[in-house]
Amino acid sequence: MSRNNEKLNDAFGEVDSRFITATQTPPIGKKRMRIRLIAAAICLFVLFASVFAALLLQRPPHSDTESSADESTDSTEYSALGWELVSFEKGTLNKKKIGNQNALYTLAVKCNKSADASEPDPAEDVCSEIFGQWLFSYCTFDYSLQFSLFPEELLSIYVYKEFEKAGLSIDDATQKISDTAADLFYIRNADIAYTIKDFTLNDPQKRARFFEGMGVNELVKGGLDADKITDVAHFYAEDIVVIFNEQFQADWGFEDEFGSGIYFYQYEGEWFLAPNMLEDDMSIDLLHADKNKKDDTFFDRKTDIGTIKKIENGYLYLEDTHRSNCYFYADPDQIKGFAVGDAVEITYFSGLAFGMYNLSDDTLYDICPLVEITLHESVAIG
């Protein structure tokens, strides 16, 4: 055992008892519980509504006026969750190519401001937008979007030197990372919503905390002058919802992840995310990923045969496969002509099979990107 290991292990073995006690039983996912409670409430409501409707069967149908009022509801609301999320829509839009498929995706960010928010500050909107973009890149590993949120000084320390080692220019390397992410994570659109709580600008305690930690020393190492940091902003992000392709919800405990809040700073008139939010190592790993290698960590190409059981929003669900409880996401053109009941042979990337909740049945599934699909006559059904 190396010296590092030994010292860390010895120290870790002696950590406070409360951590050991607290982790004897798994925590309850509050958000899942909340969604299930909402689902139960909706079921009860539907039941009562059905009974009530049955009693009123003799009544004439609704007037046209009532119908048009219903239609005026914002179609972009997350009705599938049963939550009223939107009181403020910031909205950023990003478009880019997905791999070689020329597909476009859009990102919609919706941001609630907490009820206790005081006078709105323009910096809050800027920071909110930065956070929305960062959250999207965090979920999709699209580091080309993430890099733009950090100054060159930081990227030069952590990222660019690795690009050089790989013999790639900054543009080429960024493009490669972006293409790799797109191959792994098919996105047509992502809806991200969150509530900003307790926004502060230049709060003395938060400012001190920012300069003590958050990787500011790394910025200085990169050549940035810390004295030119004029403002420090901080907020907590709550009720974070990330939905991909209107079908799957990433429920990865975001609130927990960002429990101590998110820091931003303004340097020579431009706002940046705190350096500690840069996920440099994952981006470098992606740079070295190779989708042509069968057992690549990220891609790990696999083949399987099965029968299409469901096609939902571009996602295929197969039965009689080796891989159970998994949705395969395809480019819509790729699955044109395929129908439920077809026996198929598929190739897919299984390296990062993300667990996400299907909004249609509130169940956790793996999501794997589909590479190829062909008809396969010999699949036994049932």
């Binding site: 590092n4 292990n9 120290a11 002696e14 990787g215 020393n217 099979a353």
Partner: protein
């Protein structure tokens, strides 16, 4: 049986103390040991040694909570056994990857000589305090209890890849935390 009553039995040097300890915490202790050693016989041996360790420690110790106390003793004994097995190349073949906790530290980096284990533990305590409940559960179950990623995923209704991803991100976060505090050079 309540922990307090169990501790009273130890203080009274009653034979029933070990018996009741085995009934209440024997399975947990075995799980901790087996996760490290991956060998039933070795794990049983370590749990027996841990019973003796508890017997020798109480009194004077009056641990609260008792479960954490006995698990810690079991873990330490099992780790020593693991080191012994590995050194003597008698390891059963099922490598346990608890050593991966230090994977977050690049090979060229070293833990500064000045820091004592106790100080490092305090820093780790502070870092663990920054984790969410779910992340804390994942990290502790993986590196303290040595649970498999599959088992953690099942308990949290998460996929293995999601657990791996969380662990990867936490280790990176830990590395930054230790570096910022001058613990890693």
């Amino acid at each position: 049986m309540e922990d307090q009553h169990l501790i009273k039995l130890f203080f009274a040097r009653s034979d029933e103390a070990i018996e009741q300890l085995a009934v209440k915490y024997g399975k947990t202790m075995f799980a901790v040991s087996y996760n490290i050693l991956q060998n039933i016989q070795d794990a049983e041996e370590c749990v027996n040694d841990a019973y003796l360790g508890v017997w020798n420690a109480i009194p004077p110790a009056k641990p609260n909570p008792l479960c954490t106390f006995v698990c810690r003793i079991t873990r330490n004994i099992s780790l020593t056994k693991h080191k012994h097995n590995t050194a003597a190349k008698r390891h059963g073949g099922n490598t346990v990857d608890f050593e991966e906790i230090a994977d977050c530290i690049p090979a060229h980096t070293t833990v500064t000589d000045e820091i004592e284990t106790r100080e490092l533990t305090e820093v780790l305590n502070a870092w663990l305090d920054t984790l969410s409940r779910q992340n804390l559960y994942i990290f502790m179950r993986r590196y303290w209890y040595m649970d498999s990623v599959t088992a953690i995923g099942e308990k949290l209704h998460m996929t293995e890849s999601a657990v791996y991803l969380r662990i990867g991100r936490m280790k990176k976060n830990l590395y930054k935390y230790l570096t910022e505090r001058g613990i890693l050079l």
